[in-house]
């Protein structure tokens, strides 16, 4: 096992910045989010998780799909990113959420070229969670604070160093690039790593048993239980804008001089306009239907189409909902009621 001593982390990041555009958690408008760093000093290391979802690095809130000059020329290729990217310090749940987005953006072999141009260009250095938040419930959705799935390199914070493990081929290459800065772990450090890994899972203190939920939900579309959840929801959409697995978007044209640019931007199933048809007909006119859609999509429809739940238990929607609508309580209630 190799380590990077905490006092050498600066050198570690500087080395990476020679080869890559490095994105890491930084403080911006009093919130922690991933941004491209220009010095290692910007990086925030004491954070449970970022406010914004790191999936925004791959599927940004707003992006230009292409520009057309009004006479001709429709470009066929999306723009290529120039330098390879490292995302430093992404949490295991968020790394997993990218694997979930991969499925949508690759459905039936139709690749979303904008997403994959960034995705294939990036290396994820995942930081295991030694201090999960009270809203985290990753262990209930098939993951955990030390989940290596989706990581290229995996880091675990020890008292004086970070244990560093290459997970993928891409990760191994980075491992070689920083090899000079690494040291072998001592007996004591190995023990401490094993201990931390063991303890981390126990520190997740919210647990929802979701066994059989998606099968059960299949027959519950018309169940009266859906009459309860939406009552407090004000339809603000915070839960979806912060959710790392949410992927809905809208597409619009913007005219700018002789050019038209086609942009896409996040959209949200909690809004009535989302499904409003031109005729005035709206298949989901009520908040009840929209809350049901959000829950059903993540815990039933997605399972049906892709074989897994589209929630990684990051807790962002719980932490930020202005009316404290807690997805865990919804799930517990759904598990409880007679289907």
């Amino acid at each position: 096992m190799k380590l990077i001593k905490k006092n050498r982390l600066k050198d570690f990041l500087n080395t990476l910045m020679n080869y890559y555009d490095v994105f890491a958690p930084v403080l911006k408008h009093k919130k922690i989010r991933f941004q491209k760093i220009s010095t290692p000093e910007e990086v925030i290391l004491e954070y449970s998780n970022t406010h914004n979802k790191p999936t925004e690095l791959f599927f940004p809130q707003c992006e230009v799909l292409f520009e057309v000059d009004l006479k001709e020329n429709i470009p066929e290729q999306p723009p290529k990113p120039d330098k390879p990217v490292i995302v430093f310090g992404i949490r295991p749940c968020d790394a997993r959420s990218l694997q979930i987005l991969d499925k949508v953006f690759h459905w039936d072999g139709v690749d979303d070229p904008y997403y994959f141009a960034r995705r294939n260009n990036a290396i994820l250095i995942v930081m295991g969670c030694t201090e999960p938040r009270s809203t985290c419930f990753c262990t209930s959705v098939g993951s955990g604070p030390m989940d290596h799935n989706g990581a290229d390199l995996f880091l675990t914070e020890l008292p004086e160093a970070y244990a560093i493990e290459p997970v993928s081929e891409k990760g191994k290459a980075v491992f070689e690039q920083v090899n000079d800065l690494l040291e072998d772990a001592t007996e004591g450090e190995l023990k401490s790593l094993a201990e931390l890994t063991r303890r981390a899972e126990q520190m997740i203190d919210s647990e929802v048993n979701l066994n059989g939920l998606s099968d059960k939900l299949r027959g519950m579309f018309d169940h009266p239980v859906w009459d309860e959840f939406h009552l407090s929801c004000i339809g603000c959409g915070t839960c979806t804008y912060l959710c790392p697995t949410c992927h809905c978007f809208d597409i619009l044209d913007e005219k700018k001089g002789n050019y038209v640019r086609r942009i896409r931007f996040w959209d949200c199933c909690m809004y009535p306009y989302f499904t409003l048809q031109s005729s005035g007909h709206n298949p989901r006119p009520t908040q009840k239907q929209r809350v049901r859609q959000r829950v059903m999509h993540k815990f039933q429809y997605f399972v049906e189409n892709f074989g897994e739940i589209a929630c990684v238990g990051c807790g962002r929607c719980i932490l930020n909902c202005p009316v404290n609508l807690d997805i865990r309580s919804i799930l517990k209630r759904l598990m409880e009621v007679k289907g």
Binding site: L65, F66, V68, L70, E72, I74, P75, E76, Q77, P78, V104, F105, W107, D108, V110, D111, D112, P113, Y114, F221, D222, H247, C248, F249, D250, I251, L252, D253, K255, V260, R262, R264, D267, C269, F274, T275, L276, Q277, S278, S279, P283, R284, Q289, M296, H297, Q300, Y301, E304, N305
Partner: protein
């Protein structure tokens, strides 16, 4: 579709036909700027495309032409008062627009060989049924299918679309064509009555048939029981669904009905499939 499923192919508007008296339904005949794109745009009846009007955006429209009609791509569009359809209606021949597709699934033109075909349409939703009918009666294909019956109705004579073609269909002896209007006027000498009523008079038994039903929800709602009563299995009744769409390729998350995405698993569904879906459409 090309490398990038979000970029449309450039096409030029060759001809615009006003289809109805209210003048809010127009057919647009389009030609591809690049012959390679025409080859790549390999479609079947029932599929749709996203039409781009630069500066206004895109909207999904079913192909009204048949792949057997080489050199031309046709869409019939109702002006809803919305952004894209209004902009499109203002365009004259010669203008360049974009077409992205083909998207979605199609009518099962191969699986239904040997069967009696019933095409039942109401209002301007007859568009993709026109594509289907044109495909089925093409000389290369006609012998693959048994009897073909067409029942088509509109509010009034002036609201029937494709009038010139209807006249040609009516002259053929290998088609049974029933054209009806909800309310006749003094010049109308055809059938009068709602589509489901006419369907009930015409279709007495299943008789190894397959039915394609498109129209306003109310028409579909009353036509399906007629077919079921005649003995049609729900798996052999097809319809085309509509949900608000953006990407057309199963990514923007907008058009699902339960676990099914209308842009990807549809827009064509059998009545048997609809019975499995939540009634949220």
């Amino acid at each position: 579709m090309g490398i990038n499923p979000y970029t449309p192919y450039p096409v030029t508007i060759k001809r615009v036909v006003v289809e109805n008296e209210d003048k809010d339904i127009k057919s647009f005949e389009l030609v591809f700027t690049n012959p390679e794109h025409e080859k790549a745009f390999n479609y079947l009846p029932g599929q749709f495309a996203e039409i781009s009007v630069w500066g206004y955006g895109e909207c999904p429209i079913g192909m009204a032409s048949s792949p057997t009609e080489k050199g031309i791509l046709r869409f019939t569009v109702k002006k809803t008062g919305g952004v894209v359809t209004t902009a499109l209606h203002n365009l004259q021949p010669g203008r360049q627009i974009g077409v992205r597709g083909p998207l979605g699934n199609s009518y099962p033109v191969n699986e239904i060989k040997g069967k009696n075909i019933f095409i039942i349409g109401g209002g301007f939703a007859f568009t993709t049924l026109r594509s289907l009918l044109t495909y089925l009666i093409h000389p290369d294909n006609r012998n693959n299918y048994a009897d073909i019956t067409v029942i088509y109705g509109a509010r009034s004579p002036g609201e029937l679309i494709y009038k010139d073609e209807i006249a040609l269909w009516q002259q053929r002896d290998d088609l049974n064509v029933y054209i009806t209007v909800d309310k006749a006027d003094e010049h109308w000498d055809g059938l009068e009555g709602f589509v489901p009523t006419i369907a009930e008079q015409v279709i007495k038994s299943w008789d190894n048939g397959v039915a394609f039903v498109c129209g306003p929800p109310i028409m579909i709602k009353f036509t399906i029981p007629v077919l079921l009563k005649a003995g049609f299995p729900p798996e052999l009744i097809y319809t085309s669904l509509e949900m608000r769409m953006k990407c057309g390729i199963g990514k923007c998350g907008r058009c699902n009905i339960g676990p099914k995405y209308v842009c990807k698993h549809g827009p064509i569904f059998t009545f048997a499939e609809l019975q499995q879906l939540p009634s949220e459409y």
